[in-house]
Symmetry: C2
Subunit: 427 residues, 2 copies
């Protein structure tokens, strides 16, 4: 089915500012709360949130097979479960309805009033109920940097890394959308040179620059999905900040991996940008040497050229961009991650989320965490207000942005922006 | 509130065979499917399943504040969310209704017909929708055995182990109830002496003898629960088989922990035995030396005397018990696990499940996995039919049972029994 929604010549009758992440060619999916306390599935064009539940009720999806309450829900799980054909039909229809040449909704002021909200008048929610959240570790540069610092500079990459898209399970219950503040975690750490641990606020709270993809129902238990088919099961992507407490992590992570160092919070951008919208930005990933085992081999372009940046904004000051990276640096593709994940028959459901792992690039200004940017705190970063950071301070806001751009169109993710509050005080 | 349901003098008008795991003093909670395709929350006395949805509809819970559809659901999450007071009221009422001295339901044949099913006529389901599943690693004997085999015999326990109830996140989507068969997973492994991995069926599929506890809503994000209050948030316990593919685990687990070696399947017993029912079997856990940090310190008895055993049953042969262990061997208590889990503010919700980790005892016949029982496959186990096992063979059934017994009463878990099928063949 042609993705007519991607037509770069199309313009919307809704105002879209230059350099907006959300031209009519994007049409991401999310969930928002209105001032009338209504939760609905929606999309966004420019700075307008569009209520898909209302669009459906007013019959604008006529001819597309949808259950009656497909969009009058507080998650996208059912819609995502309907599969790629439905996603395309709906996205194409939305593009058609908001095309400047189409008078149907454009000239119906009454319906427009019901359907369209200013972004400032809605509150974005988590777009999906995340049954299981997996986080990969797929940047060779990041794994190498961490290996150099934490283990052996001469053998930074562990023996399995070039053969396996290494991953682990994260915590679903603490995934929050952009805008929700996060508390500095308390935890157990081992002070340098000591043999007895202490308990207190983490002294090295870090961000991790990541993206994540959201799946549809992939398989039944036991079944694997070949790498060549994996793409059909990926609905779209978001930006992800994998908050990390480095001192807690260092003490707890052997032998079962990070736990409390990570599960206090994970922040994501609220609009899921579809793989269809990202299609024009397909590119090759890094050369894989040695050649992966057959179940992970794929031909063609399976990465995406997505510019990523991280800024730190101290309270009452302007943000300073501290990292510029790109999704295309990732060594393992999303298809390889998903094929590996199901290679043992692990069931993957609609709304499951899989993080990329920290996306570090080859240069020092493209590292995706403070751990790497300051090299374990040795080289503090100077912010615009003159202050320095080894890690994230209380009341700093971390802002991750991402967008694709070519000569014809810009498709963006908006941002995931979250403030680090001091430790929680129990009442 | 007194737990009158635990009165050991009480007898039921329903037949309960001697040595049944489910006398009227147990009253566990589960979810079952009837032959009429109705799913309901239920309990069990002897070999009878009791439909709590029907009991509620017929007004037998009069006087207890419950939402109208509390038990006409396919999970226990809402009931568990209602908290300890409701659990006790409902359990006490059930005990009262099925007491041989109470004619109310006993003498109402019409209602009995609607409410009571033979166990053989119902199909047990997962009792809860598990939002997040955590698995701990809290047996000192198990951690020591694994450390000796996989790492350094002289320093088997890692430095953090005596200070932290080490744990990690597992996969919710592949948790299945007793009776559901499991496929031998495919996966990547590194043959001994090689440097290039291969992909194929795991050659060392193992069980892990565990229990798990199920929580109610514990906290809001950011908040910690003190170890002294943790018990109030634990609803009950089940038996758990943490299926493990040792060859996959060995190759993949550094540095982020087990992933595909574990997430192909986790089997649990279907009846949640409440902490109230286990109350008479409270006992002290092992002495903790060094003293844990203050946030993990607790006084009194916080372990439970639960006999555990594992049997392997080859196809067309009788089962052989291969391990006898006990929950009381666990070093870290469930309260310590939960307090640690929330010490960084990690949110824990109703229906979340936390595994104990393999429960190995001090003697060789009390080890909780084939890895330990056969010491990495070096000392095969002989089964009753004359065959030998290093790990689990295709078409073997692994059966874990658990029960508490004192002079007055036996409170059991039933079993978690699951057959290992050959690798899945994709159609």
């Amino acid at each position: 089915m042609p993705i007519t929604a991607n037509d770069t010549n199309r313009k919307s009758w809704l105002e879209v500012l230059e350099n907006s992440d959300f031209p009519i060619q994007n049409i991401p999916f999310g969930v928002f709360l209105t001032k009338e306390n209504v939760v609905t599935v929606g999309t966004r064009i420019g700075n307008f949130a569009i209520d898909l539940g209302a669009l459906q009720q007013l019959n604008y999806f006529e001819g597309i097979e949808l259950t009656d309450d497909m969009f009058m829900q507080d998650t996208l799980n059912d819609f995502i479960s309907d599969g790629q054909k439905t996603w395309r039909l709906v996205r194409n229809r939305i593009a058609d309805l908001f095309d400047e040449k189409n008078p149907k909704l454009r000239d119906n002021i009454k319906d427009r009033d019901i359907i369209i909200f200013k972004m400032e008048d809605v509150e974005m929610q988590l777009p999906v109920l995340i049954g299981d959240y997996t986080d990969f570790y797929s940047s060779k540069e990041h794994a190498t940097n961490v290996g150099k610092m934490f283990r052996d500079p001469e053998n930074a990459l562990l023996p399995n890394w070039l053969h396996i898209p290494v991953g682990y399970h994260g915590r679903s219950s603490t995934i929050v959308p952009s805008g929700i503040p996060v508390h500095r975690p308390m935890g157990q750490t081992l002070p340098a040179g000591e043999t007895t641990p202490v308990f207190g606020p983490s002294r090295s709270v870090d961000f991790e620059l990541e993206t994540a993809f959201i799946t549809t129902d992939v398989n039944i238990m036991g079944e694997n999905i070949p790498v060549t088919e994996a793409e059909d099961y990926i609905f779209g992507m978001v930006l992800l900040n994998d908050w990390s407490a480095r001192d807690i992590q260092k003490w707890e992570y052997v032998p079962l991996g990070p736990f409390l160092a990570k599960n206090f919070a994970t922040s994501i951008s609220p609009w899921i940008v579809t793989m269809d919208a990202l299609e024009p930005f397909r590119t090759k990933g890094p050369k894989q040497e040695p050649t992966p085992l057959p179940y992970l081999q794929q031909k063609g372009k399976h990465s995406f050229d997505i510019n990523l940046e991280v800024a730190i904004q101290p309270e009452h000051a302007e943000p300073t961009v501290v990292s510029h990276s790109n999704f295309k640096y990732l060594y393992w593709s999303m298809c390889q991650q998903l094929a590996h994940h199901t290679s043992n028959g692990c069931r993957v459901n609609s709304g499951d989320m899989m993080g990329s792992g920290t996306i570090s690039g080859p240069t020092e200004d493209s590292f995706g965490s403070m751990l790497e940017l300051t090299w374990g705190g040795k080289n503090p970063i100077k912010l615009k207000d003159g202050s320095e950071r080894k890690f994230i301070n209380d009341n700093d806001t971390v802002i991750i942005k991402g967008f694709c751009q070519n000569g014809h169109v810009r498709i963006g993710f908006g941002e995931v922006s979250s403030k680090l509050l001091p430790p929680f005080v129990r009442k």
